[in-house]
């Protein structure tokens, strides 16, 4: 680097640039919060959905599945599973409840989590809530 460019200048660019763009981030975050009520399907959140998210987390579902594209890539995307299962929470519940405890020879298989009826309903309602989030048209198709 040219001698005219000093260490002090580099340091100032670091502090100034970091400070400035962190403020930009805060501004964009503020704007994001403003727009969320239109996007994040918060009106669908209730006690059942809250329990559903807890079931989702307590069983580490994200350790195999992705949800809105984030998580593991071992099992199907679930952000739109409610739509893929014909908008049926019963279909979701039935699928989870019927997983064989010993798996399927040679194949990937979801574990049997022995969820209660209440938990099954909650996780299905949670996934229904997630399907209502405005994701800017993602995923490209129903396959997730």
């Amino acid at each position: 680097m040219a001698q005219a460019f000093t260490k002090a200048m580099a340091r100032n660019i670091f502090y100034g640039g970091t400070g400035f763009f962190f403020l930009v981030l805060l501004a964009l975050t503020f704007q994001t919060h403003q727009e969320w009520p239109e996007l994040d399907n918060r009106q669908a959140i209730n006690d059942v959905v809250t329990l559903g998210k807890q079931v989702w987390e307590d069983n580490n579902c994200v350790g195999c599945h992705s949800l809105l594209g984030e998580g593991a890539y071992f099992a199907p995307e679930l952000g739109n599973v409610y739509l893929r299962f014909g908008e049926s929470t019963d279909a979701i519940k039935g699928f989870i409840a019927s997983r064989p405890a010993e798996g399927i020879p040679g194949r990937r298989s979801m574990p049997q989590f022995n969820l209660s009826e209440e938990e099954l309903t909650a996780i299905a309602e949670f996934l229904k809530y997630v399907a209502g989030i405005n994701t800017a048209g993602w995923p490209p198709n129903i396959k997730g």
């Binding site: 987390e57 798996g103 990937r108 994701t135 396959k143």
Partner: protein, 464 residues
């Protein structure tokens, strides 16, 4: 080694390497489960193996960063560590907490772990990379705060250099942004938004400051280039890192229920994120070419150059590959992401920690400057085995990802997820075989610590 207390780093590095082995073994288990779906089922389900794989990575890198700091800071500050006993105490607490958490993942169902650790009081579990029980998370905060205190006090009482200052900023940022792990609203969109303040701000933000500081230290030591020059580069690299990386976080905000303006902000700024990595490559080679001395620890220099190149490829190039919103629309949440993640972590963080170990471990074990020629040769073999196999792991995952995107999302007749997984299994097999070669590389790496110990140190021709 100039200060006795630098030696605490040794323990941290040994633990780091041990956990690294565990990480790779569980990576191989997962890789196997990708092709033989019922492998170890239901004893070790995929999600458990993945948790162990990723959490061990994070913990061993933290051990590595801490060890690097304990070695680097006293030397930079020209004083003994503020409280070596605290460093030892925190080491055992961190190791015990880490081991207990990993064992719990393996021995009890995750839901039971959540229940036993009373996750409902302050739910933080069950989110990617933040799977640790809340009590473990609190433990991490305590350990990191004690560590920061120790490092901060050492810097305060000694010489303040740019290298240790940048390191301290990186470590402080690490601690601060981790606090977002405790924020977990039911609103999934808000949960995800702030989850990234831990994950993105760590790996695409403050960790790069830590990487930059450690790399600068190794370059100062091994090239003898004037500190002023290296510090100027360091500042400008980390400036570019944060100028591009802070708003670059927007590339995670395309499809998770966030406003669409993020597609513009995220695409533009994250497209610039390769710049600091490119600069880092240019700088590392420049410093080595302008060296004032030939350092006999050639393998440490190899790791330093290697990390610059591989971080640029893995984080820079493979990140850019899928960072633009119109591309990411198709690649989001596919094996493309996995490909990028593997090479980026290896290039940026694994290699810098191994580089620091390579530089400092011989000194902590009583050598003047470096290991014997034979030991270094073995370590260079491990460098190439691990690095080349990671390149191929990345290429195979990229191939799998491209096929996955096409078959599942792009073609006229999109197929089901599991149908596609079967069709791309060949590449998963290739990845698994390459993973075995990586493991061999790691074994060779460990062997390098035991080979040629009774032989004299390697020497080099002085620079003419």
């Amino acid at each position: 080694m100039k200060y006795e207390s630098q030696k605490v780093a040794k323990l941290y590095f040994i633990a780091a390497i041990g956990l690294f082995v565990g990480q790779i073994l569980f990576g191989l288990i997962m890789g196997m489960q990708y092709v033989v779906g019922d492998f170890l089922f239901p004893e070790i389900p995929f999600n458990v193996a993945r948790m162990v794989h990723t959490n061990l990575l994070i913990v061993w890198l933290l051990f590595g960063f801490m060890g690097a700091s304990y070695y680097l800071v006293p030397e930079e500050a020209e004083t003994e560590l503020f409280a070596p006993w605290l460093a030892y105490l925190m080491f055992w607490i961190f190791l015990a907490a880490g081991a207990a958490t990993v064992l719990a993942y393996l021995l009890v169902p995750y839901a039971t772990l959540a229940e036993v650790t009373m996750n409902h009081l302050l739910p933080t579990m069950g989110r990617e990379f933040l799977e640790q029980p809340t009590i473990t998370k609190i433990g991490i905060v305590i350990v990191v705060l004690a560590f920061l205190f120790n490092i901060g006090m050492t810097i305060l009482k000694g010489r303040k250099t740019v290298v240790s200052l940048v390191l301290l900023m990186g470590l402080t940022g690490l601690a601060v942004f981790f606090l977002f792990a405790f924020y977990n609203p039911t609103n999934l969109v808000m949960d995800k938004y702030y989850w990234w303040w831990v994950v993105h701000m760590w790996v695409e933000g403050v960790w790069e400051l830590i990487l930059g500081a450690i790399l600068a230290f190794i370059l100062i030591k091994t090239t003898g280039v004037d500190r002023e020059v290296i510090e100027k580069w360091l500042y400008i690299i980390i400036a570019m890192t944060l100028i591009t990386g802070i708003i670059g976080m927007g590339h995670h905000y395309y499809w998770i229920g966030t406003p669409e303006f993020w597609q513009w902000w995220g695409s533009i700024f994250s497209a610039l994120e390769p710049i600091p990595f490119f600069m880092m490559t240019v700088y590392a080679f420049n410093m080595v070419n302008r060296r004032r001395r030939n350092h006999p620890n050639k393998v440490a220099v190899l790791w330093a150059l290697g990390t610059a190149v591989m971080a640029f490829l893995g984080a820079g190039v493979w990140g850019f590959l899928h960072t633009l919103a119109p591309v990411n629309y198709y690649t989001h949440g596919t094996q493309i992401t996995a490909a990028h993640g593997h090479m980026a972590f290896y290039g940026a963080y694994v290699m810098i920690v191994l580089g620091m170990i390579s530089y400092s471990m011989p000194l902590m074990r009583g050598r003047e400057l470096c290991n014997s020629a034979r030991s270094q040769t073995i370590e260079m073999w491990s460098f190439w085995l691990m690095t080349v196999s990671m390149v191929f792991i990345t290429l195979f995952l990229t191939a799998a990802g491209i096929l996955q995107v096409y078959l599942q999302r792009f073609s006229d007749n999109p197929m089901d997820f599991m149908v596609v997984q079967d069709k791309i299994a060949l590449f998963y097999w290739l990845r698994e075989i390459t993973g075995l070669i990586f493991l061999i590389g790691l074994i060779v790496y460990i062997a390098s610590f035991f080979v040629g110990q009774d032989e004299p140190e390697a020497t080099v021709e002085p620079l003419k």
